[in-house]
Structure formats: C-alpha cells, structure tokens
Amino acid sequence: MKGFIIKEFYHIFRDIRSMVILFGMPVVQVLLFGFAISNEVKNAPIAILDHSNDYVTQQISNKILSSGFFQRGDVVRNEAEIHEIFKKGKIKEVIIFEKDFAKNLEKNREAKIQLIADASDPNTANLIVNYTNAIVNNYQQEYFDGMALPVEISTESQMLYNPGLKSVFMFVPGIITVLLMLISAMMTSISIAREKELGTMEILLVSPLKPAQIVIGKVLPYVLLSFINAITILIMSYFIFEMPVKGSLVLLLAESILFIVMALSLGIFISTVSNSQQMAMMLSMFALMLPTILLSGFIFPIENMPLALQVLSYIMPPRWFIVIIKAIMLKGLGIQYVWKETLIIAGMALFFIGLSVKKFKIRLE
Amino acid sequence: MQTGSLEHISDNNGPIIEVQDLVKKFGSFVANDHLNFTVSRGEIFGFLGANGAGKTTAMRILCGLSSPTSGNATIAGFNVYTQTEKIKRNIGYMSQKFSLYDDLTVWENFRFYGGIYGLKTEKIRERTEELLGRLGLQGEKNKILKEIPLGWKQKLAFSVAVIHQPKIVFLDEPTGGVDPITRRQFWEMIHETAKEGITVFVTTHYMDEAEYCDRVSIMVDGKIVALDTPLKLKETYRAASMEDVFLKLARAK
C-alpha cells in the first residue's frame, strides 16, 4: 500500500511539464485576476467636443480628466465624426458642451451637456455615463456654492466587507474553487482513465490490493497537491492583495479539505464512466470547467441569471463552496452560518463515492 | 520454402545498404558500436539480437528517422546524414508498434499511405487489389481495422509498407505477438517480396526465423558479433540450430 502511494507520487512529480503547470497555474491566475481582471473603469479614453470653450467648460473638462476614470483620447472636431471614431473603437464616450455654455448658465441658469457613449459594451457605457454625470453634479454644487437645496437628505453609504470595492475580493474565492476543482477532479479522472487506457489498471485490479486501497492511493497525491495550491493562493492573496481572513483559518482549511474530497470523488466518478483520456478530458472540460466558472457566482452573480440557470446552479458544487469561502474569509462568520452549504457538499461527496463504488463493483464482476 | 538459395540476389550494381563504422550514442550510452556491414540487392537480411541490443536504433538510422553520432551509411546510394528525404522515397518501413489507423478501413489505410508516397489513384487501386489478393483478404477491403484480428493486421501493415514498391523494406520485429501459423505465412510473404527484387531488412528475436534469411547478423550489446548465412554460422559454431548459435554468442561475452 505504501509503495503504491509512493509510485503515484513519482508518476506525478517526475512529469516536470505537468508540475510546472500545476504549481505555476495558480500563481499566474491569482496574479492575473488580482492585477489585471477588473470591472473598474480606469483611464477610459474620451473625447470632449467643446463648442463653447469658456472657463466653465474648461473647468468641468479638467475635473473629468483628472478624476482618474478618464483620459483624453482622439480628438473629435464635429458631431459628424463621432460615428467614425466610435467605429475605430478608440473612444468610449464623447462629451458635448453646447455653444455659450457659461453665458447660458449665468443668464438662464440653464446649460446643456450631452453625453454620447459607445454602448457596444453596455456595462462600461453605463458606468462611464454615471461617473461623468456624478462629476458634473459635483461641480455644479461647487459652482453654486450658496445654492443649498431647501430640503436636504444626506445619505451615508457604507460598503460592507469590502470598503475599497476591490475586484480581487470577489475573484479570489472563485480562483481557489476553480483550481481545486480542476486539479482534484480533472487530474484524477484523467490519471485513472490513462491507467485504463494503458492497461495498467488491469494489473492493479488483479493485484491483492483492495479497490478502496487503489482509489486512495491514486487520490492521495492529488489531495496534497490541491491543498498546497489552496494554501499558496491564500498566502498570495493575503500578502499581495491584502485580502483578509476574518474568520477561523482552521475552519477555512477544513472546509477546503471537504471540498477537495468532493472534487476527487467527482473525478473518480468521471473516470469510471469514461474509457479514454480524451473522453475524460472532454467530460471534465465541459462538465466541470464551464459550470465552475460560469454557474458558481465566481465572476457573474447568480441572482442575475434566468431562473432555469439559477436552478441548475444548485447542483454545482462550486457554488456552495464559494459561498462558504466568502462567508469565512470576508464576513468572518462561523460554522453556524454555513452548516447548510457544508452539508450539501458533504452530501455530494457521498453521492459520488457511492456511485463510483457501484460502478467499480460492476466492472469487477 | 527455400532457404539459403541465393539465386535472386544480384550484386551487379554494388550493395544497396552500406554501413561503415556506424556509431550511435545516447549520452554516454553506446547503442550502436562501430557497425560494419553491407546488404545486397534482393537479399533477405536478418538483424538479430536480444531485446535492447540496439537493433531498432540501427534500423531507425537507416530509415532516416534518426541521425548517427559518427560513421557512414548509404541506403540505395543516399547518405543518411544529408539525404534522408531521398532515402525515404526508396524505402518501406513497418514499425514494431502497429501503425495503421484503427479507425479507418483497410482500403482507406492503403489509399492514405499510397497517397503520401505519391502514387496515382489508379496505381493505388491496382496495388491494393494485388496485395489483398495475395493475402486472400479482398473481402475485408471495406472493414474498419479495429474489427480485424491482429495476425491479419500485421500482414496488412506489411503490404502497406511495400505498396509503393520500394527498393528496400525495413521490418522491425514484424512477427511480435503473432501465432506460429501466421508467422510462417508472414515469412512466405517476405520471400515473395524478395523475389520481386525488393531487399528485405528484418529484425527479430525469434531465432528460428533466422533460418529463413539469406544472411543474418547477430548483435550483442550494440556490436555485431557474427555475420554470415545461417548454414555457415551453424557450421562455424558447431550448433544444431540458430538458437544454439545465438546462445553461444550471447554467453561468450
């Protein structure tokens, strides 16, 4: 038994290319997500078409350009050019000040600004318009300094759990989940399918090792690998992105192990139903990766999806795990808040183990 | 079956394979240690040795699949360093690993391999009929290879290797894992091929098969330790069979 487990370790660790990918991938992904992937609008290129060119419009323009959200892009000389410049894709928004802006403001207390956004990316367009609007509003209040509203309700906004609105807080739990799923489920399924293909599985099956021992031997190295990866990601997110672990670290690690066990049993199950590596890969790809990334709330909030997909997401293990990680890491909650999710994952693990054992027995008979 | 008769061998244009001081090293391991031999046109040349003696390595060099470390070799007059592509045009090869496509039919395999050797479609059709006819497998032409028993597949692989009527055909352990009857039939095919003037270069570790060759070389640990006709070898080593010859040589080291 011990020798057998050692053999499995050798198999995995000797393959340097796989090793690089297994340990390099988490690091690269955390860095990518942490630094590069975000929805925040920063330095969006805009054009300002100033028909008035007075000190008010210049002040507003300066405010907008120095906000950090925007930067000056290509120049637009007239309205007719807007369409062309949008087609080139270089500009996200055009701000148009009407003629005699300051004069109108003084005289009539009414001056017009038009915002035209390239809404082919609707999310960004929405944000950009909102930001511009807010900056103009702010300026307006400064400009009419004395102009206090006759009635004023102030809103104290509080951003709970993530005051800095960092994207990384949203993504780290997702990355941990995806990687654990990938390494545990995909790797085991492929590695067992490989033994089947090469015929070495037969040798193991006729050996005096019990099926349970074979499975444990196959799975143990991956448990370790996944666990190391999970810890690597946690350390990186803590030190590089200052993502807190507000709750109990022990609970977090215990939940991770539970999830790893679940993913491994899923991997074993996939390998029992597939006969070739290629099939195991295809199944893992389409049955694991897409749902893990898309239907788990990793990047896209589940609540915004149509009902059918929301229902589908209930049977996706990662969905529950992501809830657990967020609760422990960011909200600092204990088991009393996540026992339901924990039970669901445990139940899934048992379900897959049961199915695999049944399949395995049939094969043996 | 005729053995040892050399009447189909013609040496009028010089040897078709010439190997001089051929060395192949993998790091510090010497797989082929100064090999020297020649093979004549139309000859059946047996390349014998235990597993790991360096047979496949040498054969891969002669086929242009790998480069020698030092020494010289010409195949059909072409140099193994510089003219590998010309060599490939003139040889056929059947590898140790079964190498037809399992998910294609017999005909599709023939058409593909004939096609990449540049045969005209008409010619491929003609050769396929001829080769299948010889094997008595015309009925299997449209069967997917997966459904065909191993022994037949080996014969088909051999036919594919000679579909373009090469000057030399290299066979790497062609009879591995085949039953004795099929092996015998296989050697009959080899002899018929040789009669057509195709030189056959064959590796094997079945010593009884050596008896079917015109000349055999025996390799031990990367070196050729004996090379002659089977009859002469048995005389020299005073052995009853090639098996005994081999055992004497292998133990002598």
Binding site: R17, I21, F35, A36, S38, N39, A44, P45, I82, F86, R109, E110, A111, Q114, I116, A119, S120, P122, A125, N126, L127, V129, N130, V136, N137, Q140, P150, E152, I153, S154, S157, Q158, M159, L160, S167, M170, Q278, M281, L290, F300, E303, L309, A327, K331 | C63, L65, Y93, K97, F98, L100, Y101, D102, L104, E108, F112, Y113, G114, G115, I116, V160
Partner: protein, 370 residues
C-alpha cells in the same frame, strides 16, 4: 497538392467516424452559447432590500414606497433594528439595508436636513457600486420631490442639464455585447483543443513513425493537419452566427463576409499554436494541459468578460500577443458597430503576422528526424 489531398481525406474520415466528435462539434456549441449568453451578465436585475424604519412616519413611508417602484428592487422585509438586518446580510439573504433613523421626519420639518444610512454588501465591488448608485439615486429623487413640495409645487430644474444617449446598443442589452465574444471563444476552443490533441495522438498510437519514414514534406503534413480543423471551426462560426441571429437576434451591422475573413486569418493563428503545442507534448495529457493553460490565460485577458481598458497598462501591453483579444475586439466592432475593413486593418494585420509566426513555428518544431 495531391499529398495534401490524401491527408485531408484521411483526417475527415477519422473525424466523422469518431462518435464522440460529432456531439462535440454540434451539440456543445449550442449549449455553450445558451448557457454563456444567459449566464454572463453584470446587469443587476434584483436587489434584495431590507428596511429598518425607526421613524414610522408618513415621510419615512413615502421614502420606502419609492424603493418599491423599480422592478429590480425587492423589499425583503422590515426589521426593527440594524443588528437584525445585518444578520440577513451575513446570511446572504439581503444585498442592501436602508436605515431610516428615528426623528427623520422631524429633522426635515425642523432643520430641512436629515440623513439616512444605506449599507451594501460589497464583496462584489462593481455590483455594489451600481447598487449603491441606484439607492442613492432613489433617495435623491425623493429629495427633489420634497424640494418641489417645499417650493409650493414650482418646477425645479438642475442648472446643468446632462442628457445622454447610448449608441449601438440603446437598451444596454448585455447579451448583444456578449454573443459575438462567445462565438469567438467557441471557435477558439474547438480549434485549439482539437488541433493540439491531434498530432500527439498520432505520436501516442505510433502512426507518426510510419508517416515520418515516408517522403512527405513537413509543410504538407502541417497543412493537411490544419485544414480540416480550419474548415470545421469556420463551419462552427457559421452555425453559431445563425443560432445567435435566431435565438438572440443580435445585430449584424457590419459585413458578414468581413467577419469570416477575420475568422479565417485568426484560425490559422490559433491552429498554428495548437499544432505547435502538439509537437512539444509527448502525451495527450500534456497537450491538454498546455492548451488549457494558454487558453485560460488568453481568454481571461482577452476582454471577453471584463473590459481591456480596465486593465493596468502592462496587462494591456501583454494583450499585444494575445490573439483572442484581437479577434474578440474585431468581432464586436464589425457585428455591433459596423466597422469596416479600414477600421480593423491594423488588428487584422497583427493577427496575420501572428498566424505566419505560429505556423512557421509549428512547421519548424515538427521533426521528421529525432
């Protein structure tokens, strides 16, 4: 040319005889398109709001009723104090809590000044920003009404009037934006994975030896391996575009032939990468991992899910070598905005260079002699 024809013939036979391939080619795109198009959205469609009304006056109730009007707000419950509401935030049952303090109405009447508190779960930072903006907007509107009321019903206008228009997608429909990107993804995945597995497979079953020992030329082999997947992927694109048109009625403002021209060039780059990886790997498992690794990095950086403009400078520079980023950008430009050849010429050129480099590398790395 004849040699290439024989390879093509063989590859197609193998692809269409493989029973697992056909579903991969026909069924998966549909599923992928459906799931992705519906799942991938940042639109906020539902905000669960918990109200803590400690004032219990007509004014506080009037404010609350304002939150009932928009479709995306769901009033989850009314709770007497913030602690209880915070519990729902913790459990994830509420997104936002509105706290109206005791004396809210009194303050407005007496001092013309009052405050409320709006607490938002901000783990998803960008969603939180939008939810917060929505909530603030409603409160501001309410404020405006009070102002109008206090001025005796006289119309009150902001001096600086900002009007806005959203071009190319006035309804801000997110699906319209995503579908062209998803199609690009689909074509990429099919092309990259099938091609990267292909040569390795021949290595594993040993047929590559038989081919290496034949006088076939390297470029013939690579072209023969490449064209089938090129055609399949282009077919996929046509299939996917048709589906997208029927199911999501996405606009096709620009020229469809231009889309296919771009795709045709792009696919040579992707297949070149796939084949190159294939020549590097010794087993299908390795090829799969390599392809997976590159695909994930390229896709995440491509701007498919999050805008390229939001990335830091170095990441945007890195995208210069990301073929998927070019392709998605061009697909969106052509289909959504009707950009023409001149608008995309630079990007197309970059992809063309990419294709040439990737293919040369594949030909160079493929060794007939070991």
């Amino acid at each position: 040319m004849r040699t290439i024809r024989f390879i093509l013939q063989k590859e197609f036979r193998q692809i269409f005889r493989n029973k697992t391939m056909l579903p991969v080619i026909f069924v998966i795109p549909i599923i992928q398109l459906l799931i992705l198009a519906f799942a991938v959205t940042f639109e906020i469609r539902n905000i669960n709001l918990v109200v803590v009304d400690q004032d219990h006056t007509t004014t506080s109730r009037a404010l609350i009723s304002k939150f009932k009007a928009p479709k995306f707000y769901t009033l989850k419950s009314y709770l007497p104090n913030y602690d209880q509401a915070a519990e729902l935030l913790k459990k994830g049952q509420a997104h936002q809590v509105l706290v109206i303090p005791n004396g809210f109405e009194r303050d407005i009447v007496k001092d013309s000044k009052a405050s409320v508190k709006l607490v938002t779960n901000a783990i998803d930072g960008s969603a939180a920003a939008i939810m917060n903006a929505y909530g603030n907007g409603i409160i501001m509107d309410f404020n405006q009404e009070l102002v109008v009321e206090s001025m005796g019903g006289q119309d009150f206008k902001q001096p600086m009037q900002v009007s806005y228009s959203y071009w190319f997608n006035p309804e801000l429909n997110y699906t319209t934006y995503m579908v062209p990107g998803i199609l690009a993804l689909l074509v990429t995945i099919i092309g990259m994975f099938l091609s990267s597995m292909n040569v390795v497979r021949e290595k594993e079953i040993g047929t590559i030896e038989q081919i290496n020992v034949s006088p076939i030329r390297k470029y013939q082999f690579v072209i023969g391996k490449l064209l089938p997947f090129w055609l399949i992927a282009l077919f996929e694109l046509a299939f996917g575009l048709t589906l997208a048109r029927i199911i999501f009625s996405i606009p096709m403002v620009g020229s469809v032939p231009l889309v296919f021209l771009v795709a045709a060039v792009y696919l040579f780059a992707v297949l070149g990468i796939g084949l190159f990886l294939s020549t590097l790997a010794n087993t299908q498992q390795q090829a799969m991992f390599l392809a997976w690794f590159f695909a994930v990095v390229f896709i995440m950086m491509s701007g498919l899910f999050t805008p390229v403009e939001s990335m830091p400078y170095w990441a945007q520079q890195l995208n210069m070598i990301n073929p998927i980023a070019y392709f998605i950008k061009m697909m969106r430009m052509i289909l959504l905005k009707g950009s023409g050849f001149a608008d995309i010429a630079r990007d197309l050129m970059a992809v063309l260079i990419y294709a040439i480099v990737a293919l040369s590398m594949a030909v160079w790395r493929y060794r007939k002699v070991s």
